[in-house]
Each structure stands twice: as structure tokens, then as C-alpha cells.
């Protein structure tokens, strides 16, 4: 018998495990054969097939060129700019989103109305158009930006062309657009917190701002974090639209090289490889953050990819004990956000 039974000191007589002939699935083998042929064709055309271009024989996808440019300086510069735009855009988006969500839930009808109109506009128009607007529209409409008393004397003025440089336009455009989406995520998080929390804080004499900051938002985080991870991945990809504002991010960087060398497909592949690498890292991060925040809310943790892989190799699902062992010190008793029992 198993070690557990011995440890428990039980002598329950247990019949042997059932050994039955499993059901055969011939259809699966047909499907496997068809898919194998298709995959082989794809691998062949993508990796091994060679075509004559100019007077040299190259792989069809131009992997040699991809290799030449994958770590080229302008491309790396573009990757860095993409990451910068993602970080700044998300920062503006998160702060703006919290502000808009709080406004939307305000008892003041003017504030909630303003928030609604903001959402209506920024979710209702394409990001590409918004970016173009921030880049060229502002300096077209207001060549001179001035600081002063409304309708009164002006204190100082700047040229919009100097102020709205590409990077600033892109950050504002991406951030303001993101704020509209983050607002809805934050609002859902705030609404997920029990009303009793608000009442308890009120009865202790805490005002609305203090209650929001100390009681409501910390609890809303469990609901806010997972979709925010999605938003970060979306933002990373959306930075490619900043090429319209002439920002030298990854897409723009590869485009310049492609335009000069005519290596259009290899350069797009370079961009794809970098985008995939960055989103993969973010996805892994997101998976573990979500897993972390699910603690206490779900009874049994979903297996990590490594646990799934080992389960596959063993051809049977891992037992809870194995999952616990795999997770090791990674599974302390959860005492962060709410146990979820009540």
C-alpha cells in the first residue's frame, strides 16, 4: 500500500486498481497524420526552401538577413524606445484611469459626466487617429501655446512645434487612450469591494478620500491586477502605432532599414521576433502575478506550466501532493488580500 496508508496506520483492504482496455481513437491518428504533413510543409518552406534572389541563393524567408539585423544598433534602440513608451504610456494610463474611475463613481454629477464623456471619446476613436492628432493636429490648431489667465493676460507662451515633440505626442496619445480602458478596469475593481467596507470606514469617521486610499483601492487590486497585465501586453503592441508620430520605436526602426535595403519580409520578421520575445516575458510574468492574486480565492491552485509538462510526461494528472511538492516553498500560507471565506 502507499506510504500515506502506512503512515496513517490503517489496514483497510482495498481491491486492486481497475485495469481496463482503453477506448481506441483511430480518428486521432488520421488527424495527427494530416497535421504532420502540413507542419512539415510549413517548416520546409520557412526554413529549408531556397530561392534565387539577384545572383545569390537565399532561404525563402531571408533568415540570413534576419540574423544580420536582429541585434543591429537601430533595432536595439527601437526595442528600448518601445519599452519606454510602454512604461510611460501605462504609467499615465494607470494614474489617469484611477482618477477617471473615482470621478465616474463620484456623487458629483458633473465629475461623473466628464468622466463618461472622456471614455466616450477616447474609446470611440481609433488610437492611430488620436496619435496623429496629438502629433500634428495640436500644432496645426494651436501653433502658439500660452500660459496665463483664462480670457485675460498671458504670462508666457511656447511654440507648439517645440513642445509637442514626437516622443511627447506618443506618450500623451498612448497614455490618454489607455486611461479610458484602465478607468473601466479600476471601476470594476472598486465596485467589487463590499459596501460594508465603505460603511465600516465611514462609521470610524474616515472621509471618502481616506476610505478610498486606505480601504477600497487595496482590496480592489485583486480584481484590477489581472486585466492590467493584459493591458500592458496590448500597450506594448500598440506602441507600434507611434510610428505615425515619427517616434523611432521598433516598428519604425525596422521600417527605415527595410525602406533602405528593400529587405521587407526579413525586417518584419525581426520586429515580430522582438515583439514576441517581449510579450512572452510579460505573459510569463502575468501568469505568475495572476496565480499569486488567486491565492485564497480559489481552493486549489492551477498547475504551473512545469507541473503541466511533468503531468503530460507521466501520462496522468499530478496529484495534489505532487503539486504541493513542486511548488515547494512557493506555497506559503496566504495571508495577504482577503481569505475569501466570508
Amino acid at each position: 500500500m502507499t506510504a500515506q496508508d502506512e503512515a496513517a496506520g490503517t489496514t483497510v483492504s482495498r481491491p486492486p486498481d481497475i485495469k481496463a482496455v482503453p477506448v481506441r481513437h483511430p480518428g486521432r491518428w488520421v488527424a495527427v497524420a494530416i497535421i504532420a504533413v502540413i507542419v512539415a510543409m510549413m517548416v520546409h518552406t520557412a526554413v529549408f526552401a531556397r530561392v534565387k534572389r539577384g545572383n545569390s541563393l537565399q532561404t525563402r524567408f531571408g533568415w540570413g538577413v534576419v540574423g544580420d539585423y536582429l541585434f543591429a544598433r537601430p533595432i536595439l534602440q527601437g526595442v528600448l524606445t518601445t519599452l519606454e513608451l510602454t512604461a510611460i504610456g501605462m504609467a499615465i494610463g494607470i494614474v489617469g484611469g484611477i482618477l477617471l474611475a473615482v470621478m465616474r463613481l463620484s456623487v458629483n454629477p458633473v465629475l461623473s459626466g466628464v468622466s463618461w464623456v472622456y471614455l466616450w471619446f477616447f474609446r470611440g476613436t481609433p488610437l492611430l487617429v488620436q496619435l496623429a492628432f496629438w502629433y500634428s493636429g495640436i500644432s496645426y490648431l494651436y501653433p502658439q501655446l500660452s500660459l496665463g489667465v483664462p480670457f485675460g493676460p498671458e504670462v508666457t507662451h511656447f511654440s507648439a512645434n517645440n513642445l509637442i515633440v514626437p516622443m511627447v505626442a506618443a506618450c500623451i496619445g498612448l497614455g490618454f487612450n489607455e486611461a479610458a480602458y484602465m478607468a473601466e478596469i479600476v471601476r470594476a475593481g472598486i465596485l467589487s469591494v463590499e459596501e460594508g467596507q465603505m460603511e465600516a470606514a465611514s462609521s470610524l469617521g474616515m472621509n471618502r478620500a481616506l476610505t478610498m486610499r486606505r480601504v477600497i483601492l487595496p482590496q480592489a487590486m485583486r480584481v484590477i491586477i489581472p486585466p492590467t497585465g493584459n493591458e500592458v501586453i496590448s500597450m506594448l503592441k500598440n506602441t507600434s502605432l507611434a510610428y505615425i508620430a515619427a517616434v523611432g520605436e521598433l516598428y519604425f526602426a525596422q521600417y527605415i532599414i527595410a525602406a533602405r535595403t528593400y529587405q521587407i519580409v526579413p525586417m518584419l520578421l525581426v520586429a515580430c521576433i522582438w515583439y514576441l520575445a517581449m510579450t512572452s516575458v510579460l505573459m510569463v510574468g502575468q501568469y505568475y502575478i495572476e496565480r499569486h492574486y488567486a491565492r485564497g480565492a480559489v481552493r486549489q491552485m492551477p498547475p504551473t506550466p512545469w507541473q503541466k509538462f511533468r503531468g503530460l510526461v507521466r501520462r496522468r494528472p499530478p496529484t495534489p501532493a505532487e503539486i504541493a511538492v513542486d511548488a515547494g516553498a512557493d506555497l506559503p500560507t496566504w495571508h495577504g488580500v482577503q481569505g475569501g471565506q466570508h
Binding site: 463590499e194 460594508g196 467596507q197 460603511e199 465600516a200 470606514a201 465611514s202 462609521s203 470610524l204 469617521g205 474616515m206 472621509n207 471618502r208 481616506l210 486606505r214 480601504v215 487595496p218 482590496q219 485564497g296 495571508h335 495577504g336 488580500v337 482577503q338 481569505g339 475569501g340 471565506q341 466570508h342
Partner: protein
Amino acid sequence: MTGTPMVLAENIHKSFGALHVLRGIDLRVEPGQVMVLVGPSGSGKTTFLRCINHLEKINAGRLSVDGELVGYRERGGRLHEMRDSEVCRKRAEIGMVFQHFNLFPHMTALQNIMEAPTRVKKVRKDEVRAAAQRLLAQVGLSDRADHYPSQLSGGQKQRVAIARALAMNPKLMLFDEPTSALDPELVGEVLDVMKQLARDGMTMVVVTHEMGFAREVGDEVVFMDGGLVVESGNPREVLTNPQHERTKAFLSKVL
């Protein structure tokens, strides 16, 4: 006794839309008194309790706590709504304990108790910590200071909630069915804390279904039904020898 009553309610009315929940409540709670509100659900006990610290606004009548109107200021014969900051200041003087505890789940027991004194009253943190530890000892939970609410039993949660309310040094404590969400075997530990509080002279208004508590601790029991006070008086008399049919019918079911 003719001093300022702690709570004075005169002809209180409250409606939620078309629902007329309170239909003329007159009550008087003296300082140091324990008043127990009983009655069937929907009778308006909880609503009345929530009016006392202005979690609900009354529609008509006069309601004052310690001689001052709740939620309004009287100037030149007219009522002026209080600003939010004033309402908060008034609420800080009234402790409230809820049926579902409403502890902050992301804070430990000690942090729950310390939150309001440090953030609202802005008392120095080491002073607050010492006071919070004394309060935890008072409710018998010194060894649970660093536990999160999810790691506490229902009775322990409610005792922390009482300590949290007491940390603001309230002059009045409101209890809204404090034991209704508890397993029967955990009710006693919460009632014990409340009894001790009553013996220490705290003014309390308690909505409860615990008739034993009403009889033992209550100075006055008030039976409410349909948004009105049906009968009130000494708990021993009202609970053992009710005068009204409605009270008799209710008590025959709960006792």
C-alpha cells in the same frame, strides 16, 4: 434624570422611495444606559440605528446625539446640512459594530484597530499601538494581534470589530445584530465582551435577537414593529409580561 440625553429621537420618519420604513419613532437614551431594540425583521430597527450616526438621512423629525442634531446645524431657526468633514467628525464619536463585522481584510487585527486613531485622529503611532494592544487584551485576543481577519473565527472577528470601534473612544456604541452571523457556540464570547462594556458604563444601543442579553444587560427594551415603537420599558417586565398582542406574538416565537 434631566441631564442631556445621549440619544433623543422625536417623531423620526424615514422612507426609501415609496417604502415608509420609520413612521414616527420617539426614543430617549440616557448616558450610561443600555437600550435593546427588538422586533421582527423589516421593523426598522437597523434603519433607526443607522440614522443615529447618519449612515442614513432621516426625512422628518428631530434626532440628536449628546444634545447636538445629527447631520444638521440649526442657525436662526433654519436647518443647515453639515459638511462632510463635520459629519465625519461626529461619526468618529460614535462607535458602530456590524452584523457582518466588516473588518478590513487586508489589515491584521492590530492594524484594523490602529487605522482610524492614526489616520483620523492623527494620534502618535506608538500611543495608538499601546492602546490597541490594551483593547485586544480587553476582548481577550492579545495573541491574535498579527492575524488577518480570514485567519480568525467569526466570534474573534466580531471582538476585533468591537475593539476597533472602541479605539476611537466613542461616547456611544451602536450594535447592529452583532451575533446574528455567528455560529451558536461563538455567540457567548461576543456577548461577554458587550456585557463587560455595559458594566463599565458605556452607553449602548443594541439591535439583537438575544433575549437573554436584553434581560440581563438591558436597562430598557424597545419592541418595534412596522416602523413604530409598539412597547418599551424594563426588560424583565416587557419580556415576561408583554401588554400588546403583537409583542406577545413575537416573543412567543423567539423565546
